[in-house]
Symmetry: none
């Protein structure tokens, strides 16, 4: 089973927008055993789109199209799709209702003709209802090939892929069973981890594929297998997991597929224990808070955060004694620990995280080498901190520090 992804839009071809949709779609298709043969970005141009459809149809079984479905007149994708299938556009009442309901609830302005026109779909298409936007998804089958057209807005596209496209493709085609198990490992670099598990890796059976997924101070190990004998495949993957776990015992902290990522594990455990956390952030600048609050339900365990970016705010707002800052510098274990203790009291939380460091590109208020980050964890019983050296690339330093903060909190929570 092969697929091609066609992304439509002049904004891609003048480099104004980076195509992130294709990687998302490719990942989701691969999970259900459909390989992506090619990704093609074309202009908002009728003939070019027609040519891309024709070429794709010769190479693959499934063609996924994104973009070019907005209400403005420079969007010509839908008309071109209808032309390609010698079809006409007809008004879909259910889509119109969805548009009217979204309009009534959120826009509260007169529904214009261009908006109503978004309810026009090729008569041969099955509508994939887009409940969070006005451009409908469309599924058209022709000569045993499946064409799927989706809006280009990433969150609308993602919802349609997950809720409509993947279930429908799984139902429509006899796809092999695929299993992925992702082991989360921290505290080891990619090459150290590779050396540690080398003999296990060399002995892996051909059916089990291994991938290292390094990401800002973490490495995930993904084991994949596919085939039509589900039980055999599951057993083989389990056998390999049982063999590798003793080798990475101290650095393994869960299966991403079952437990979610580190943040989800933290969230579940805090909710279960009815405990709370607060954060004092310097170099991470709000990213730890943002990572907590991007999950719904965070108000159950996340009390809040103080981002004390300027040194004087650490003194004024977090009440760090001026002498501590002067004696040890603002990037120090002492300051990190004082921040964590103070914010714990401020928010009356059970746990607190604090970060202070120098993410570069210049040294700022401290002489600490670029990439130096101190992270402290406070509980009602005490406080401690760790020092990390996280490289010299600003956004990487910040993101690695956020990862480390969550890993330290995870360890602390499971101590209890």
């Amino acid at each position: 089973m092969l697929a091609e992804i066609i992304t439509i839009g002049d904004e891609l071809l003048i480099g104004q927008v980076i195509d992130t949709n294709s990687a998302f779609i490719a990942k989701e298709l691969n999970k259900i055993g459909i390989s992506v043969y090619q990704i093609t970005s074309v202009q908002d141009d009728r003939n070019h789109i027609l040519k891309a459809f024709k070429d794709a149809e010769q190479n693959v079984d499934v063609i996924i199209i994104t973009g070019g479905l907005g209400p403005t007149k420079d969007d010509i994708t839908k008309k071109t799709i209808a032309d390609y299938f010698n079809d006409t556009l007809v008004l879909d009442e259910s889509v119109l209702k969805n548009i009217e309901s979204i309009w009534k609830q959120y826009v509260r302005q007169t529904l214009l003709q261009v908006n109503k026109d978004q309810a026009l779909v090729p008569s041969k298409a099955t509508v994939l209802m887009n409940t969070i936007g006005t451009a409908p998804g469309m599924w058209i089958e022709n000569n045993n090939k499946v064409f799927i057209s989706l809006p280009g807005v990433p969150f609308e596209m993602k919802a349609l892929i997950q809720n409509e496209v993947i279930p429908k493709l799984t139902e429509r085609f006899h796809l092999p069973f695929i299993i992925h198990k992702t082991l989360m490992v921290y505290g080891l670099g990619e090459s150290t981890l590779a050396a540690r598990i080398e003999s296990w890796e060399d002995a892996l059976p051909a059916i089990v594929k291994l991938a290292y997924l390094p990401d800002l101070g973490r490495v995930r190990l993904r084991l994949s297998a596919k085939g039509f004998d589900k039980e055999k495949i599951q057993a083989e993957v389990q056998k390999q997991i049982d063999a590798v776990l003793p080798l990475i015992k101290d650095e393994f902290y869960g299966f991403e597929d079952e437990n979610g990522d580190v943040e989800s594990i933290v969230a579940k455990q805090l909710t279960k224990l009815k405990q709370t956390v607060a954060v004092a952030e310097s170099c991470t600048g709000g990213k730890v808070a943002e990572r907590f609050t991007s999950h719904p339900g965070a108000s159950n365990y996340f009390k809040g955060s103080v981002v004390s970016y300027a040194t004087e705010s650490k003194i004024d707002v977090l009440g760090i004694p001026k002498e501590v800052v002067e004696t040890y510098s603002v990037v120090s274990a002492q300051v990190a620990e004082a921040m964590a203790k103070h914010v714990l009291g401020m928010f009356n939380s059970d746990f607190a995280i604090a970060t202070t460091g120098n993410a570069g590109p210049t040294k700022g208020d401290s002489d600490a080498e670029i990439g130096t980050v101190f992270i402290a964890i406070a509980t009602r019983n005490g406080v401690y901190s760790e020092k990390f050296m996280l490289g010299n690339h600003r956004s990487k330093v910040i993101n690695k520090a956020v990862n480390k903060a969550f890993e330290m909190l995870l360890k602390e929570i499971f101590k209890n």
Copy 2:
């Protein structure tokens, strides 16, 4: 003049890597008047690569290839390029010297045969010297078509594009002048904006192309034109801008090409005025702070932020009177304004932003409808707020609220 960008690599087609190279190359080509006709991502597969070359050659004048030039044995791009031109690979002494020098300086291990093989290039190719990596760029002309092959590592590719490819293309072809002007507009949806400027849009001369670029509550309008008479083109675009500006006067806040995005304008203006800002965030959960601190130099104007996520933190940490919360509810103009005033004092800043709202998916501590967000701006002279209804998709509500917060701050700063 048309170009196609071909990116080679299985990692793109399984969605492990997002292709950022193409947008960079497309932007650089557009600047010198070469339009990108198509972007194609193909597998590390000889036949697929050959097919992509053949297709591209039929449509465009310049083919830029990235990826597949690393030292490992699964990279077959270079052999395929040689085959395509009925050519053979020969050792290029200058490339070998470059590899040896990089090796000596940075790697300090024995040079392996696979590394030496990187100095093999098709005999018909002109080498584009990659002084910061071991994979050479290559320029091959055939039947009046130019093929340019570049390494896939972004910073090596970028250096070669800027230092070698763009100058050589400008010298080789007689290229038109190209101009893009991007108007930043807020407070209007895409379709309302389209209706507002419809008669202007309909009267645009063929030479000026218009595109709507909507993004979470903002719309950018891009005008583009190209041709050989630079002055005429500039004048025509300027004329159209002069005609559209009165129609969007209150919603226009600058040209992105000259001023950067809203955040950059805010940052520059605060730095210039030597003024500072602090933030109190509820529903945006740290994202406003994060948006400020993701730019180096933020410590000049960004004092800090309090993320008061739980209702009790608004009372305990931000000192909002309990009666205000009880009388008006936590999602209210009164609470937003009290938060902004308090955090202004706490951080002793010139401006303060506060956000409180309900991003969903459930109602939480307030009866406010999902999507309701109040944003307040405080200055040393007073405070005011606005209410927004931002839809029912959690991350979209949050991101739109962050955008609105920056836009309100922008307006406030330029009032002074």
